[in-house]
């Protein structure tokens, strides 16, 4: 069985290699090959899953050591995989959703002449993501971590001829790099603290280390998570990342990659559990982000950007949960999975809509589409219900648990977090309803695109709708399934451990409260967008709205605080290097030259002058000699 783990990664990697180096001759079949390999690795994952279920829940972890990677002195890094319940959950999510999106893309990218490369990148992503979740040590995880970063860079910038896309891709990579610095520092800290950075030894001995050390490590890990999962303050890249093809947004920037931060924190639970301050930081980040994202989501008219905001906010929930420690880990992951389903579904839906509307993204130019693309409408609708947490659907189960857990944190902290979570739920309900209404209800607000051809909305081909349907099923039933006598909890507990906090409110109360705020949110949205006609150009809106449209000024902030000063700094240094550092050297040369020029004037051609110098020289010679004797 262990050997299969390697194959899990190898399959998509092989696909990437073939597709990217294969050259034109693969253009015809490339996409099929890519999809096949994705499915292959899903199958392998399923097999392993079955095998895992077959074993006792306490020795379900598989371990496969491939080879010693970097042995230098005390520094031992191995290429070795560890497949436990947590990893398995991700494997299934990644390969499953991944395969679906491969299929979806066959249709979506049909007319792109670089489709082969697109699938190559997708496979590359799968491989990297699997590596990330299967690695048994932090350094190998780091490889996957940056690997997915690379894949996302390539895919965001897939339409490189669009400057906006290229810029977005670069931005994403660089912001992620900032996060990666955190991860690498964390690894270094582990090495200096424990002399190793493999999960097992580090986590099992975390308690030996001083709390200060652990807090430092925790904070660094959090920084990494912020980068990858687009959490405040490193959130700014996610919105722009929507420049990428929609399947990419669905897979990478909704379902899987962006949730890597949650995985990292959950995986490193043992460290955070012993570093309360770090945990506080985590929950704060989570809470702030879930509101931040939600607010941004309300203001966007670009359907994908709106969804991106929501993604940010939902991951905020997960981070929050993960920050709560053993109370929350399980629910973080559970929400991660359900979110994987419905958010992917939503994005695919959005993609399908755009597909029908000449790639129009402005929701104000949609309207009344439910008649034209019923399947999309239904699947999208289910996803919508799931995300706002409509009772019985996936989102309800997972999100509700998180809110409970937040309260269960106890004390004022608990109240604040719980409140934030509730408020978030309300806003979620609001903006998702808004999206729903703007897109599928109301009257048509379509306009011809640049080429002037009217949009003829139509249902997308099977290859696209089927995945949407599958995901819709997931978004409906997954949550329920998981919560059936706490199946999911029991499944993960051996890895993440679980403890029931002591919530000041009963579960029922929380649920009720959630329902209430949910209804409020929906109601407001209905009042604003359902009843009266929607202007096809956005009204100026309140100060907050305008700020939110600009992602709450995050970019402006970065621009002022980082970009501009950086530019001045580099320009200044270029000048310094040229004038100062180089100037000194050239200056010395010049001064020697000048001296030479002056000295050679003494050589004036008059024999008498020469005689004088000789005479003087002799005089000095004599004087000096006598002086030496005198001294």
């Amino acid at each position: 069985m262990e050997n299969l783990i390697g194959l899990l990664v190898a399959a998509p990697l092989l696909g990437a290699a073939l597709l990217l180096c294969g050259g034109r001759r693969l253009d015809g079949k490339g996409h099929l090959l890519g999809t096949a390999l994705a499915l292959a690795s899903f199958v392998i994952g399923a097999v392993l899953f079955a095998d895992m279920l077959g074993r006792d829940e306490h020795d379900r972890a598989l371990h496969s050591h491939l080879f010693s990677w970097i042995p230098v002195g005390g520094f031992r890094a191995d290429v070795a995989f560890q497949l436990d319940q947590l990893s398995m959950t991700f494997v299934l999510l990644i390969t499953g959703v991944g395969s679906l999106i491969h299929i979806y893309s066959i249709g979506y990218m049909e007319h792109d002449e670089r489709r082969r490369r697109f699938f190559g990148y997708l496979n590359l992503f799968l491989a990297a993501m699997l590596l990330l979740v299967l690695a048994d040590n932090y350094l190998l995880l780091y490889v996957g971590w940056e690997g997915v970063g690379l894949a996302s860079y390539l895919l965001i910038g897939f339409w490189q001829h669009k400057p906006s896309a290229a810029t977005a891709a670069k931005k994403a990579f660089i912001v992620n790099r900032v996060g990666d610095v955190g991860l690498s520092i964390a690894i270094m800290l582990m090495f200096t603290t424990f002399g190793t950075f493999a999960f097992a030894p580090v986590l099992s001995n975390a308690t030996d280390a001083s709390e200060g050390k652990l807090t430092a490590i925790g904070l660094m890990l959090l920084l990494a998570a912020c980068g990858k999962s687009a959490q405040v303050p490193l959130q700014s890249w996610l919105g722009d990342a929507m420049e990428g093809p929609t399947p990419v947004s669905a897979l990478i920037h909704a379902a899987t990659m962006v949730t890597a931060g949650v995985y990292l924190i959950t995986r490193s639970g043992a460290i955070f559990n012993n570093a309360p301050d770090a945990q506080t930081a985590v929950v704060t980040v989570g809470a702030v982000t879930l509101l931040f994202g939600a607010i941004v989501g309300c203001a966007k008219d670009d359907i994908k950007k709106a969804l991106a905001g929501s993604t940010m906010s939902q991951i905020g929930y997960m981070i929050l949960a993960a920050g709560l420690g053993p109370i929350g880990y399980v629910f973080a992951i559970m929400h991660l999975v359900t979110h994987g389903f419905f958010k992917a579904g939503l994005f695919l839906g959005a993609g399908s809509v755009m597909h029908g509307m000449n790639d129009e993204v402005d929701m104000r130019k949609y309207g009344g589409l439910r008649k034209y693309m019923p399947v999309t409408f239904v699947t999208f609708g289910l996803g919508y219900l799931a995300i706002i947490g409509f009772p019985g659907l996936s989102g309800f189960w997972s999100k509700d648990k998180i809110i409970e857990a937040a309260f269960a944190k106890g004390g004022t902290e608990g109240w604040i977090l719980g409140g934030a979570a509730l408020l978030g739920a309300a806003i979620t309900a609001y903006y998702m309803t808004r999206v729903m209404l703007l897109t599928f209800f109301g009257e048509k607000r379509w306009v011809p695109d640049e080429q002037g051809n009217e949009p003829h909305p139509h249902e997308s081909p099977k290859s696209m709708t089927i995945p949407m349907i599958v995901l819709a099923f997931g978004s409906v039933f997954a949550g329920g399934l998981f919560s059936l006598n706490d199946a999911f909890l029991k499944w993960l507990e051996p890895v993440t451990s679980h403890s029931h906090g002591h919530s000041p409110l009963s579960a029922a109360t929380v649920t009720a409260g959630t329902m209430v705020v949910l209804l409020i949110g929906v109601a407001i949205a209905w009042v604003q967008y359902g009843r009266r006609p929607v202007p096809s150009t956005a009204p100026r809106g309140s100060l907050l709205t305008r700020a939110a449209r600009r992602d709450l000024l995050q970019d402006d902030f970065n621009h002022v605080v980082l970009v501009k000063p950086g530019e001045y700094l580099t320009r200044g240094l270029v000048y310094v290097d040229h004038k100062l550092v180089d100037g000194v050297v050239n200056g010395t040369a010049a001064s020697v030259g000048g001296l030479s020029g002056r000295l050679r004037k003494l050589q004036n051609g008059y024999a008498r002058t020469y005689a004088v110098s000789m005479f003087g020289g002799t005089a000095v010679l004599i004087a000096a000699t006598l002086l030496m004797r005198a001294v």
Partner: protein, 549 residues
């Protein structure tokens, strides 16, 4: 008397240089093939050295030792340790690619050259081989004086390569670029000569000191280290420091270390890209290599004494180089400044005095050689196509020449040391090595990682992506020759990124030896994990749930 493998390895390229230079003016093409042949022969020899080197064997292997200049206490002493072997292999590996990449760089502009005896092509390739020979032997030399001689002599062929053969690029008149070239060449030579002469003073000093203590002056590294170990030779603190500074200055210029770096951008900018690769990937390595072999092993005490300052300078190089790279408008200068930043990492690793640091630094030398070669050579192909070095003159190349763009991107990713590619390993080792002894420095150095991403991706974005520029339209994609140059390098980058063990196995013992000479131990982790608790992991261990304590 065994077969003098090392001598032969150095001699073959030298012979090749002569042979190439001897090719008559008319037979231009032949000269190229001759040069290529000899460089490949050298590669084979280097491979033989590699395999016949036993990592667990003596420190210096394949040694040769003959008296040379008795009066100066100079012996012709050759020997290789793991570090030298790795670098020799790198050199021998890169030269054929450099030659292939520069295949047409030295073709005279007009066939009817003014003088029958003027043979630029022959000269170009002969000089390259000459440089290779000198570099190889200075990696092999275990006699300080012998090393010094080639360390210095190397400058001359390099100087002619830089000054004699610029690329036809840059929208400048032939006249202007000629002046620019010779300025760069002179700057290169004077900088390094100045460094070398300072070192000469130190070398003389070394002779005097050894002569005083041992009766006869000697330059043999082995002999000196042994004598120091035995206590028969011991430097006065002040002398040792002065000598160290003399040596280090020369190597810091060569490396180059801030603020002695300004020759590099000029040299790399004006030279043709193969020559630029020769400079940064091969010749400059001699500087860092010499720090490791001579500075540390001859003057361990002084090295430790100077470490703080050097670490800071290295740190400045890292950040400063990266920032200036961001600020460049010229592709080649950008890469040059990137190299300065990388050399900062190498020096940081060397003087961190930890196995990870120095092992990483050594790997870094190799990996940086390969990655820069890949990036710079592709950049060269790009520049020769468009005839301009200015980033602003490009755009959308990815659309017209995807393979070129792809290879360029991979080279760039290697330069920003993306995990999975070789440079990542070395860079991370250097960082860990530094961090474990100087946490603060280690953390500051990580800023370099972000900046690297910035300059590489900005370069890629500006040149390769976006709408296709008119001048770029119709640009041909990589030709076979060019692919033959780039593909192996990339393959190597990936291989060494995934499985560097062969390299580390060779390097580690040498590094341990160096550290033992310097008498430094790796700092111990605060809570070393006992192997007992290695795989017995259960999440219940934590304070919250009163875990094992």
């Amino acid at each position: 008397m065994s077969f003098p493998l090392l001598t032969v390895t150095a001699a073959v390229p030298a012979l090749g240089a002569v042979a190439t230079a001897a090719v008559p003016a008319a037979k231009r093409a032949a000269a190229k093939w001759v040069a290529l042949g000899f460089s490949l022969a050298t590669l084979v020899l280097a491979a033989i050295v590699l395999v016949s080197f036993d990592p667990d064997g003596a420190h210096f292997q394949l040694t040769e030792s003959h008296p040379w200049i008795k009066d100066f206490g100079v012996r012709y002493e050759l020997g290789v340790d793991g570090i030298a072997v790795a670098l020799i292999a790198l050199t021998a590996l890169l030269i054929p690619f450099i030659i292939l990449a520069g295949w047409h760089d030295a073709d005279p502009l007009e066939e009817a050259s003014p003088n029958r005896r003027w043979r630029p092509t022959q000269g170009f390739f002969a000089l390259i081989l000459m440089v290779e020979a000198m570099v190889v032997i200075s990696f092999e030399a275990t006699d300080v004086f012998l090393f010094y001689i080639f360390f210095e002599a190397m400058l001359i062929p390099m100087y002619f390569l830089i000054g004699g053969f610029g690329d036809r690029a840059g929208g400048r008149s032939e006249e202007e670029s000629a002046t620019q070239r010779s300025y760069a060449a002179v700057k290169f030579l004077l900088y390094n000569l100045a460094g070398g002469l300072i070192m000469l003073a130190a070398v003389v000093g070394l002779y005097v000191v050894t002569a005083d203590d041992l009766g006869t002056g000697t330059f043999s590294l082995q002999q000196i280290t042994d004598a120091r170990a035995a206590g028969t030779l011991d430097f006065a603190t002040s002398t040792e420091r002065l000598l160290f500074l003399g040596f280090f200055f020369a190597f810091a210029v060569k490396a180059p270390l801030w603020p002695l770096h300004t020759w590099l951008p000029n040299a790399m900018g004006e030279a043709t890209s193969p020559v630029a690769v020769l400079i940064t990937a091969v010749v400059d390595k001699v500087g860092t290599f010499a720090m490791l072999r001579f500075c540390l092993q001859l003057f361990p005490e002084a090295s430790k004494w100077a470490t703080p300052v050097i670490m800071v300078l290295a740190l400045i190089s890292i950040i400063y180089g990266a920032l200036l790279a961001i600020g460049q408008r010229d592709i080649k200068r950008l890469i040059a400044y990137a190299s300065i930043s990388h050399f900062g990492f190498i020096i940081l690793g060397i003087f961190a005095m930890t196995t990870q640091g120095q092992g990483g630094a050594t790997l870094y030398m190799v990996n940086h050689g390969i990655s820069t070669a890949a990036l710079m050579l592709v950049a060269g192909f790009l520049i020769t196509r468009r005839g301009s070095r200015l980033i602003a003159d490009y755009g959308g190349v990815q659309k017209v020449a995807p393979v070129l763009a792809g290879t360029f991107l991979i080279g760039g990713l290697a330069t920003l040391s993306l995990p999975g590619l070789a440079p990542f390993i070395s860079e991370f080792l250097v960082l860990v090595g530094t961090f474990s002894r100087y946490p603060a420095l280690g953390i500051i150095a990580t800023v370099g990682i972000v900046l690297a991403a910035l300059y590489v991706l900005v370069l890629y974005q500006r040149t390769m992506t976006g709408p296709v520029k008119a001048e770029v339209r119709g640009m041909p994609d990589l030709k076979v020759r060019e692919l033959v140059v780039v593909a192996p390098l990339i393959a190597l980058l990936i291989f060494l990124g995934v499985y560097p063990k062969p390299l580390t196995d060779i390097v580690n013992p040498a590094v341990d030896h160096t550290l033992s000479v310097v008498d430094k131990k790796d700092p111990k982790p605060d809570h070393p994990v006992t192997d007992a608790g290695w795989f017995s992991y259960s999440p219940m261990h934590d304070r919250a749930s009163g875990g094992a304590k």
